[in-house]
């Protein structure tokens, strides 16, 4: 059964700089199935962020194609216009980055309802209820009306995750979401992710340079100098098994 949700075909990315061309991604081929929690691990400068930005359509690719299955449809991300990608991303793909990316003048609840507003799904009462529910998920409901500056970095990152889930996308992509957090806080974030995968059936692709996190993913991919080497590949049953084992509480 083809359960592929995201497929990268021969994706390359070349940056042209004053110093000459630099190829950050070389012929990447990758399939991600629904329900996977994929970890992309690599050293600094390996091309992790670049790869992620190909998947979420934040950056333009030089070659190849990124296809994302939506319902019965296959969507080629890079064939859409910038606006089309923005709307699609807002509705179908949650994005979390290392720096917290909250709007500083909006309260947590307003930050979370922002994607609903932008994708024209905003209904005052329901949206607020939805935001509260997401804040509960990340255990921050008592801070709902605070400004981002008045909560900690880890808390801010959890709000960013809640915001990424506002439109209930089936895919979440995260670039070093734990990068600036201490290990306990980072653990907490990963707990939230695992919960989303196992309990809500989300598909998550997460980028990290921290090899010690490898054990938390259902699948690990290693990227070096823009090239992907598949690692820890295993059959479907083993993966599911692993997921079950990792689940705590």
């Amino acid at each position: 059964m083809d359960n592929t949700l995201i497929e990268l075909k021969n994706v390359s990315k070349t940056y042209s700089t004053a110093a000459g061309d630099f190829t950050a991604l070389k012929n990447i081929n990758l399939k991600v199935n629904a329900g996977e929690f994929v970890g992309i691990i690599g050293k600094s400068g390996a091309g992790k962020s670049t790869l992620l930005n190909m998947i979420n359509g934040v950056d333009q690719l030089t070659n190849g194609e990124v296809i994302v299955r939506d319902g019965g449809e296959n969507i080629s991300v890079h064939e859409m216009s910038e606006d089309g990608r923005a709307l699609w991303r807002g509705r179908k793909m949650g994005v979390v980055y290392q720096s917290f990316q909250l709007l500083p003048m909006l309260t947590l609840i307003e930050n979370i309802t922002l994607p609903l507003d932008l994708s024209d799904n905003f209904k005052p009462r329901e949206s607020k209820a939805r935001a509260m529910q997401l804040l509960q998920l990340v255990e921050l409901e008592e801070h709902a009306n605070k400004l981002p500056a008045f909560i900690s970095g880890g808390q801010q990152q959890r709000v960013a995750i809640a915001r990424a889930l506002a439109n209930d996308p089936s895919i979440l992509v995260a670039d070093e979401p734990t990068g600036s957090l201490d290990s306990i806080t980072a653990d907490h974030i990963l707990d939230v992710f695992e919960h989303l995968v196992s309990d809500q059936g989300k598909t998550i692709i997460m980028v990290t340079h921290d090899t010690s996190l490898a054990v938390r993913f259902t699948r690990n991919l290693r990227i070096t100098d823009g090239e992907l080497e598949h690692e820890g590949d295993s059959d479907e049953s083993k993966k599911v098994d692993k997921t079950m084992r990792r689940r705590r509480k």
């Binding site: 042209s16 004053a18 934040v58 923005a86 807002g90």
Partner: protein
Amino acid sequence: MRPRWIKVFHDLWDNKARTLLVVFSIAVGVFSIGVIAGAYQIISNDMSISYAANQPANVELRTVGFNQDVLGSIQNTHGVLDAEARRVFNMRVRVAGTEKWTTLDMVAFEDFEANTVNLLTALQGDVIPKKREVVLERDALNHVDVQVGNVLEFQLQDGSTKTMPVVGVVQDTAMGAGDFLASPYAYVSMSSLQYLRQPELFNRAYVTVETGGDDIRHIRVIGADLKDKLEKNGTRVIRTRFSETYEHPLASTVNAILGILMALGILIVFLSSSLIANTLSALLNQHLRHIGVIKLVGGRKRQIFEMYLVLIMSFAALALLITVPLGGQGAYGLALFISSELNFNVLGYRIVPMALLIQVAVGLMVPLIAGLSPVISGSRITVLRALSGDLTGDESQPQGQQQTRVSWLDRMLIRLTRILASRGIHFPRPFIISLRNTFRRRGRLILTLFTLTMGGAIFIAVFNVRATLHAYIGSIGKYFVADVTLDFDQPYRLREIEQMVMQVNGVVGMEGWQFVSGELLDVNGEVLENINIFGPPADSVLIEPLLVKGRWIHADDVRKLALSEAAYGYFPNIEPGDQVTLKIDGREEDWEVIGIFKFVDREGVLAYAPYEYISQMNNLANRSYSFRLITENHERSYQNAKAEELDKFFRERGFKVRVAQAGRATLDTAVESLDTLVVFLLIMAILTAVVGAMGLTGTMGMNVLERTREIGITRAIGADDRAVMSMVISEGLVIGAISFVLAIILSIPFTYLLSTIVSLAVFETPIDVIYTFMGYVIWFGLVLVLSVVASILPARNAARLTIREVLAYE
């Protein structure tokens, strides 16, 4: 509320300094345009309506005495609708029991109730004076400290006084219109004339025409007919004046002045829009990250465009909230001021829809246009570049260029400082840093310099224009060099007066002048304009003409005259040697033009011919009505004292003195009214300077904000508050100093332009431009102060930043 609008609201509300800056930038421009447009509308409408409402005379005839019969024949002349006759004479008055004399033009009416031409408007008290009562024109109250019910003393020819109570105040919008140098008016009934020892005869006729009240040529024709008729009757006409019913005589001057103010207003709008553009593009730069986040979570171009459009429109709405009521008030205030200066009435406070519309349009369009480009580029930016926070991320071409340029500049600076250092001149470190900072944001620097330079150039130019106008009035003054003018009601022999005046202490010289008036005719014998020919002695030392062409008068000139430039209005190609046809005492004569000189003609064309010839023409050889005296000292106060003394001296000896006046009196009044104009120009100049200063404040604020991190690092490596502050302030000073240098250059064309426009409006001739140091010195001081003031707030903010805050800044 939707979260995106909450963000817009916070953008508006949280950074109040920035909001105020933008709102005020918009408001300044809108306000100046609104005030001037409103005043223009009110004045252009009300000036003619209020003037026409009082049935202004189309023809005014100044004559020797005439009676009721002559008036009857005027009324019966073809084309005449109505005519009234009055006696106008001047008298010196003072409040009973005080010292200071004031000259009033006394106007005697036959019948106040039958007043149909040059209507009086009742303002206060009883406005129909009975025998031995007087009513004052409201302007007289500015000159004589008197109230209704008080008694005034009137000085008779022989120096004795008569008293009359002031019973009322009226406004006379028609009589003095067009002549803001005229004495204030007082009104009495003909029945009081005997008491004031005046003959019971009229000497002025005020005539309205039946049709064609708006056709100055037709009015002139009727005027010439009337003059002919009167002179055939033996009533000599001294002077005629023509005016249209619906055209206030000063309308074109006022419109021209408002036009100049409008031009400056438009300039202010331009400057403020560059300020707005500056601020908005900085705002969008600061908001790149926000835009990135919004795009990341699904925001599209149009949504971002709308958000920032709403933000800009909110700035505009706030500005309009301030300026619409304020602009309306200001417009009315300006109209009221001008109307009271020129003695007409505005029809009451009202909102001028046109001005309101202009304000709203300018208030909405200017920020829209200024903000459009930053908002469009802000909404079009890709997520990736927006997220990376600044434009340095990738293929940003202009950025690369700018960097190379800065490093080139840096190298120059380093070399310069090295060279200076090798000669023992050391610049403080912060100064060098500021200098480098100043050039970092080139676009912003250029806009800031532009605003500040324009403000400065206009400021300096206004001072130059003032000097130019004063110099011109000064040179016009060369036509009135006499220290005291002594006019009599009958001619006296020159010899006799000379012997008398030399007895008065301080008088060193005297000339007798004569005067003749006529009309200038065109080739078909139609009246073009009045002409007044002065006859000073050919060797007069009391006149230094500014000749444009030809020569000045000679003693043996016969039927030759020097004409003022106003003649070009009728004969554009006139040259010395040409003949002009004049009508004098009913006779047509050809005169030769010998020269053309500069002068401000307010009524008719002025000309000069030698006393030697004019006195023969007038059959008054060696005699004169009018004498010009030279005193030892030429100060105005000395002239006043001597005029007073001479007046008394001659009256006591039985001479029929009409008036003795300080020579500078007329000139000073002219200077005063020009200074009113200069004050308006200066207000506009200060407004532009304020816009410039706001621009600098904004720029400094943005520079500091963008350099928060850098300032934090400077502090981390040991710079104290003072060092940080002086770094920011020296940057402001550098900008101020550069703008000063540029303003010096720009002020030259500005001075030229402004002087030319003003002199064309006021004097109807271009005049030579004079430059004065004053404007440069004042602006230099002002721009330094403004630069420091504009940088203090941002500098304090910069100094207040703690390292922690700086590092937390994203």
